[in-house]
């Protein structure tokens, strides 16, 4: 029998027992809806996590340090690399060289120093870090109270919430509710901070007795002279951020942020400067670390390898992300198994419905066989009925699963809004999931139709025709 005839007969038979078949189809659609709901929650959560992690700069950033910096991230790298004393230094020409590597979006010096900041004549000691303009897309600044820096050289500062609390003397005690960032920002925005810092200033060249400048000679000898001068810089507080944009840095994370251009212009004395004093090859500043932002997170390994080849230490959170991906794969599998269970249970309804249909249509099957239907024709007809119920249940189920997702998303966002959190998408129904759910529902239904179809095909026509 041809497929269109098969489909037509199957749909006609399904219409004949409309209530029973509708209930079975609803059962399947509930199963499919649960599968879609479970998986789309898993996908949504993974996407949310990925989005957050991407925005945090964890997945597209490689931190580069010189091997001369003995506080390396990867101890294993040291075994196959030049000895720290012989390895390259991390300076401006190197930064530019790294920036020219394929797939690198930008490479900026990691300027970071511990210094004193005065607010309303009270001193506060903390770590200050410089941020490039691209950090504006970091999710820590997405919800910033106030604004991001007006320009890359503006004398402005953004405070991390804990430092804002310290400035206002509102550090919460353990176990107490955290202070609302909005309340912290209100009295601070627009206020002035005075940053006291040590400036690294190149020493003026010293004329010798014969009147010649000795600076070039000094450089050729591999030494550079500079002096350290104490300076002050007034900063305007433009923002307070609740999230920690540098959470990956652990104890070295900063609590006050400056525009990168401004920080570079200030020539703040870096710990590296001191370390390299004994053998500085240049009077140009050396960088403790360079942060490299990659154009595509999937290329992070290639960039990391290229930097290591240059003789530097490179670290990214790629390995951590692999663990996260593994976690989500396990989560998918569990959610998929639980979702599928509901579908498998509902497919038992198909078996029941079709077995009932065989009993009811026993005589009809006998008639069909008597007038020339083969076992295959009868089998295909029951398969078509099972498949039609599966497909229809699948379509309704996908729609139902999507609707459930929307409702939960809406409800969660209402709750988040009431808690002053930005809205999020916890739910994602990608096209492949729709296709997968329909195919899975169809195949499970066909599998459910296997026994009834075989039973119907095996019916003895003589016995079937006698059946009243």
């Amino acid at each position: 029998m041809k497929l269109p005839d098969l489909t037509e007969l199957a749909l006609r038979n399904l219409r004949e027992s409309l209530l029973r078949n509708s209930l079975t189809t609803i059962g399947i659609s509930v199963g499919v809806a649960s599968l879609v709901a479970m998986l789309s929650l898993g996908i949504g959560l993974q996407q949310l996590a990925s989005r957050r992690l991407m925005k945090s700069g964890l997945f597209d950033t490689v931190v580069v340090t010189s091997r001369r910096d003995l506080r390396n991230f990867g101890r294993d790298d040291e075994r196959n690399a030049p000895a720290p004393g012989e390895s390259r230094i991390l300076d401006e020409p190197t930064r530019q060289q790294i920036e020219r590597l394929p797939n690198v979006a930008e490479a900026y010096p990691d300027i970071r120093f511990i210094t004193e900041l005065r607010f309303e004549d009270k001193p506060h000691l903390t770590t200050v870090a410089a941020l490039p303009a691209s950090a504006k897309s970091n999710d820590a600044f997405e919800t910033v109270q106030g604004s991001f820096f007006s320009s890359d050289i503006a004398p402005e500062a953004i405070l991390q919430k804990t430092f804002a609390e310290e400035l206002l003397g509102k550090t919460p005690k353990r176990g107490l509710d955290e202070t609302n960032v909005k309340d912290l920002a209100a009295p601070l925005l627009g206020k002035e901070l005075i940053m006291r810092y040590a400036q690294r200033e190149p020493a003026p060249s010293t004329p010798t007795a014969n009147g010649k400048n000795t600076a070039s000679e000094d450089q050729s000898l591999g030494a550079a002279a500079y002096s350290v001068v104490s300076r002050e810089q007034k900063l305007k507080i433009v923002g307070v951020t609740e999230l920690d944009p540098e959470s990956m840095r652990g104890p070295t994370r900063a609590r006050v942020f400056l525009p990168l251009g401004l920080a570079e212009n200030l020539h703040v004395m870096q710990p590296t400067d001191l370390r390299e004093t004994s053998r500085a090859a240049t009077d140009q500043p050396l960088y403790a670390a360079v942060s490299v932002r990659v154009k595509d997170p999937s290329k992070i390994q290639a960039v990391e390898d290229a930097i290591k080849k240059m003789g530097f230490n490179a670290f990214s959170i790629l390995d951590a992300s692999r663990s996260i991906q593994q976690f989500f794969k396990v989560l998918y599998a569990f959610l998929g198994i639980f979702g599928s269970l509901a579908l498998v249970v509902s497919s038992i309804g198909i078996v029941n419905t079709l077995v009932m249909a065989i009993l009811e249509r026993r005589r009809e099957i006998g008639i069909m066989k008597a007038i020339g239907a083969s076992d295959k024709d009868v089998m295909k007809l029951f398969f078509a009925e099972a498949g039609a119920m599966g497909l229809l249940g699948g379509v309704i189920g996908v729609a139902l699963g999507w609707a459930i997702g929307q409702v939960i998303n809406l409800g969660t966002n209402i709750y988040l809004k009431s808690q002053s959190f930005p809205p999020e998408h916890f739910w994602a129904v990608p096209l492949w999931l729709v296709g997968f759910a329909l195919l899975f529902s169809f195949l499970v239904s066909l599998a459910a139709g296997l026994y009834p179809a075989a039973r119907a095909a095996r019916l003895d026509p003589v016995q079937a025709l006698r059946y009243e």
Binding site: P4, N13, E16, I371, D460, L465
Partner: protein, 247 residues
């Protein structure tokens, strides 16, 4: 497949159909040997339980013999697979039953065209052939009616149209007038005779009404307790039919 000239339409040899019911062995058909010529109209007569319907089912390929053989158009049905038997029923045999056996959820037109669906005939051709067959049995106005909306006679006419739709060589009728009043029964039997005479179709009819058999059949075969107990030719009708069949 080529058929030998003058080969019998049906040849049953020492045909047996036995089955067990508990400890008892039921001999529904017990060593029946018979031959039916092409174009012949044969009536199988006997009381209830004589084995006439069982013989008909064996000839129709709906059942398999315990022993012996049924050869139809030079093909031994015992050698055919289930799939081949279905093909045989579809193209060689047309069946009419006492209880009409139309599918209640389908209209008359759909019932009539059902065998053509199994034969994978194109939809357009199917529609026109079904219309033509229903017109031939006088049901052109009832094509879209369901069986429950028709009288018994109309249902049997539709069943006849369905049996003939694939142009079978063999029409097997199991008590075709059993559920009809005598006037409607006559109407149906006239149609069967007309198809037998016009199309040269071999007809085997099961009945327990001797008068009906004598009126239409060329041969009367008597069965009792699964055995063949008599085989009579019924000359007046037989003479006419044989002439037409030979022509």
């Amino acid at each position: 497949m080529s058929i030998r000239p003058n080969a019998p339409a049906i040849h049953a040899h020492q045909l047996c159909r036995h089955y067990r019911m508990g400890d008892a062995l039921i001999r529904a058909v017990d060593g029946v040997t018979l031959t039916v010529r092409p174009g012949e109209f044969v009536a199988l007569l006997g009381s209830s339980g004589s084995g006439k319907s069982s013989v008909l089912n064996l000839i129709a390929g709906l059942d398999r013999a315990t022993s012996g053989s049924v050869i139809v158009n030079d093909r031994d049905l015992a050698q055919l697979s289930r799939e081949d038997l279905a093909h045989y029923r579809l193209h060689t045999v047309g069946m009419v039953f006492q209880s009409f056996n139309l599918i209640s959820s389908m209209t008359l037109a759909e019932n009539v065209e059902l065998p053509m669906r199994f034969a994978e005939v194109e939809r357009g051709k199917r529609d026109s052939l079904a219309r033509e067959a229903l017109t031939k049995v006088g049901l052109q106005a009832r094509m879209n009616h369901r069986p429950s909306e028709l009288s018994g006679g109309e249902q049997q006419r539709a069943a006849l149209a369905r049996a003939l739709i694939n142009r079978p060589q063999l029409l097997l009728a199991d008590e075709p007038t059993g559920n009809l009043d005598s006037r409607t029964g006559t109407e149906i039997m006239n149609m069967v005779r007309e198809f037998n005479q016009q199309l040269g179709m071999t007809v085997v009819m099961v009945t327990h009404e001797r008068a009906l058999a004598e009126r239409y059949a060329q041969r009367l075969i008597f069965l009792a307790d699964g055995k063949l107990i008599g085989d009579e030719s019924n000359s007046p009708v037989a003479a006419n039919a044989t002439e037409r069949g030979r022509a």
